[in-house]
Structure formats: structure tokens, C-alpha cells
Symmetry: none
Subunit: 125 residues, 4 copies
Amino acid sequence: MGNDYESSRPIYLQLVDKMSFRMIRGDLKPGDKLPSVRDMAVDSGVNPNTIQRVYAELERMDIAEVKRGQGTFVTQDEEKLLQLREELKQRQIQSFMKEMNDMGFTLDEIINGIKLEFDNEKGRD
Amino acid sequence: MGNDYESSRPIYLQLVDKMSFRMIRGDLKPGDKLPSVRDMAVDSGVNPNTIQRVYAELERMDIAEVKRGQGTFVTQDEEKLLQLREELKQRQIQSFMKEMNDMGFTLDEIINGIKLEFDNEKGRD
Amino acid sequence: MGNDYESSRPIYLQLVDKMSFRMIRGDLKPGDKLPSVRDMAVDSGVNPNTIQRVYAELERMDIAEVKRGQGTFVTQDEEKLLQLREELKQRQIQSFMKEMNDMGFTLDEIINGIKLEFDNEKGRD
Amino acid sequence: MGNDYESSRPIYLQLVDKMSFRMIRGDLKPGDKLPSVRDMAVDSGVNPNTIQRVYAELERMDIAEVKRGQGTFVTQDEEKLLQLREELKQRQIQSFMKEMNDMGFTLDEIINGIKLEFDNEKGRD
DNA sequence: GTGGTCTAGACCACC
DNA sequence: GTGGTCTAGACCACG
């Protein structure tokens, strides 16, 4: 039954993640302007209020700044972005390692499996 | 009211995972009897039909065998369990690596982060 | 309540067979939409859950595809259908031959009897 | 009460079939004595009245003769047995061919499939 | 006792 | 509208 159900994590948080990813990847650089609330609402097929909430959350995380009348921008504070990058990395790794540990996999198995997967991915390019 | 959103993955699939984990960890060994449908339903706080579906799925995966009137048992075929273990490992790794790749982390960053996390975990024992 | 249960083969499997037959006969062609779960439930005088199980089984057999919100469709993979056709053919033949063998009929008797029956059928057209 | 009900065909008719099969196979030859009603009732785990009905039916079919005080015997009339054999053969074939026809198989496909199955069976001896 | 099937009716996610 | 999940409770076959 090819069900996805990837996660019922609230849409606004999914969008927060998506924007965070773009920032720490460098797709969105310090000082870059984010799409307008209205544009992003249309692009995401979502209510503008939801985007409003996304931008508010990004500002609360100190990685975006809202300038009234101009729009929303990626923070100029590069340090903040690096910090977020590290946090996200370790958060992902921690939950991954907990699961793998619960299933009884050893460190070697995990690292070998990761290298294998990495090579496979590279091969597909 | 007070929704968790912990995961909307269907309960029956969560339980399939849970039982699979126990088998590949060795908590449940080949030939072991699984709890009766009704017992597990009570233990899991779930309807017996849901457990029935779980056991049917485990049988479809060839990792459990149903003996009518006697109960449901872990397969005797150890090979099947090892196979499942590898599949689950690579499945977990694949989804993890996809996410990390999307966030722009390098292989070295990931492996170093994992070793770090592993040492921290060990330190807590 | 006037239950039939004419054969003790579960209703959902009888319906799986019925749909399989229609597909391998070509009454239902690749890409054709199957009746909605609710419609078929009414037509068959059966609970929608039973039909749901039928469609899940057809999908598991890779001869139907579920498109969420749109309906259930015969697979586009014609190869799969031909494969199923062969399987069903040999399954029917096997159970027939077992019975005939139990009754002590020879291969020649069987084949001659079949040709005779075939000619009679043709004659009735 | 160890009831089977495997098929909902009445038990007495199932037993009639079973005895017929033995006769046309030659396991029971013309003039052979059938088990006593009481013995067969015990063997079959069935009420003696049911066996009474079986033997009555076999007599009605002219393939068994009841001799009061002596028991029930396979008919001496070999012709009758051959006739029954033909009837059963054609009855089986007819229902088989109807099914195969409904599924859309050609005569050639059927005959080839049967020869294939026959060779496979022989190989297993 | 065991698991297997089926119904009735509810609520959800997707389009 | 579509299918997917889950509950509650019934009855069945098997041992």
C-alpha cells in the first residue's frame, strides 16, 4: 500500500524547515530577500496567514529579519546561520543514532552502510 | 485539542516496525511465539483487528508464521531475519542520507558527527 | 440473517478472483478505472471494508494501482497481467489434474474428453 | 462435535463421491463388500444414518447392491461402473472447460498447460 | 483457546 | 468525491 504519510508535522513547521535548509545550504545567503508572503503563499498553495507564521518563526529563531514595508530578509549574522547548521546537523544525527542503536546496529555497520549509500548516490549523478 | 503530531504513520505499521525491530535485535528469536492477537491488543491499547492486520503483514513479509489455533510465531528461517535486518538498516540510512544531503552536509561532517554522538552516548552509560 | 456462504472461500478472495478474471479476459483493460470502493460494495451487497481489502490485495499483487483521491486503476504494466494469466491458468489446471489423477484417468482420456467437450461447446454456438 | 464443513456440499454426497471414486479407480472391484454401515460411520466420524443414506444413493445409482443380512456390495455389472466412470470424467471436464473458457483460454493453451502439468507431476515421482 | 472474516459506522488525508 | 485507518463487536474454523 504505497502510503506516504511522510509526517503530519504542521505545514508551517515544514515550511520553516524548508527555508532553514535553504539558508544553511547557502541557497539563500545573508541579506537575501525572501519571497513576499503573498508570492510564497501562492507557490506553496497555502494560506498567506500560514506564511506569515513561518516568517514570524524564522525571526524568532534569529535567522530572518522583518523590515516593515520592505520584506523579510535572511539575517546578516553569518554566525547565527553556522550555529543553526550545527544544531540541525547534530539534531538529525542524534535521532538517527538513537533509532539505529535501538535496532541493535554497531557503529561500524552504520558507517560502512553510510559510505555504501554515499557511493551509490554519487554513482547515480 | 492537544495534538501531538508525533507521527501519523498508521498504528498498524508502527506496530509492524516495533515487532520487526524486536526480531532483528534478537529480543524475539526464531520460533518464538508472539503474543496472542487479543493480548497484544490489550497491551497496545488497540483494537484486535489492528493487531490482526499487523500479524497478517508480518506473515506477508515472511518473518512470521501463523499456525491456526496455536498462535503466531517468529519464522524459523534465520536467513529471512538477517535479510530484513539489512533492508531496514539500508532503508534508515538512505532516508537519513537524503535529508543530510538536502541540507548540504558533506560525508566527512556526517561521519565525524556520528562518531561524536556515539562517544557521547557511550559516556552516558 | 440470510447469509449465503455458498463456498467457504472468503468473500474478499472470491471478489479478488472475479476482478482478476475480468482483467485477464480483457474486460478490464490496462489503465481502466475500477468501481469506487463504495459503489462496488453496494453492487456486491457487501461492506465497503471488504472491498477495501479486495483492492488492497489487487494492489499487493501489482495488478492494480491506487491513486489517492482519484480511485483504483488496472495496472498499466501489461506484462504483469500476462504473468497473472499464466499463473491462474496453471493453478486451475493443476487442481483439475490432481482430481482427475485421483480418479485414475489417463492423460489420453483427459485430453480426448476435453477435445470432445470443446467440439460440443462449439456446436452449440 | 468435530464438524468439517469444508465445502458446504452435504456430507452424504461427499461420501457418495468418495466411494464412487474408489470404485471407478478400481480400489473397490465388482462384487467387493463395502464396509458395514456402523464401521464406516465410525471411520468417517459421522452418524450411521448418514452412511445409510450414502449406501441408498449408491444403490439408486445402480453401482451398489444391498443384500439384507449380508451387507452392501459393489455391483457385478462392470458396464455400469464404466458408464459411471465416463459420466464423472465428462462432468469434471465440462465444469473445468467452462471455467477455462470464462477466463478466455484457448483449447491449445489448455492442452499444452495440461501436458506441461502432467510432465511436472511425473517428474516428482 | 488460537487466528480469520465480516459488518457497521466513524474519522482522516488527498484531490 | 476518492481510498485508508481504526473501533466495536459478531461469528466462524481449527485444535
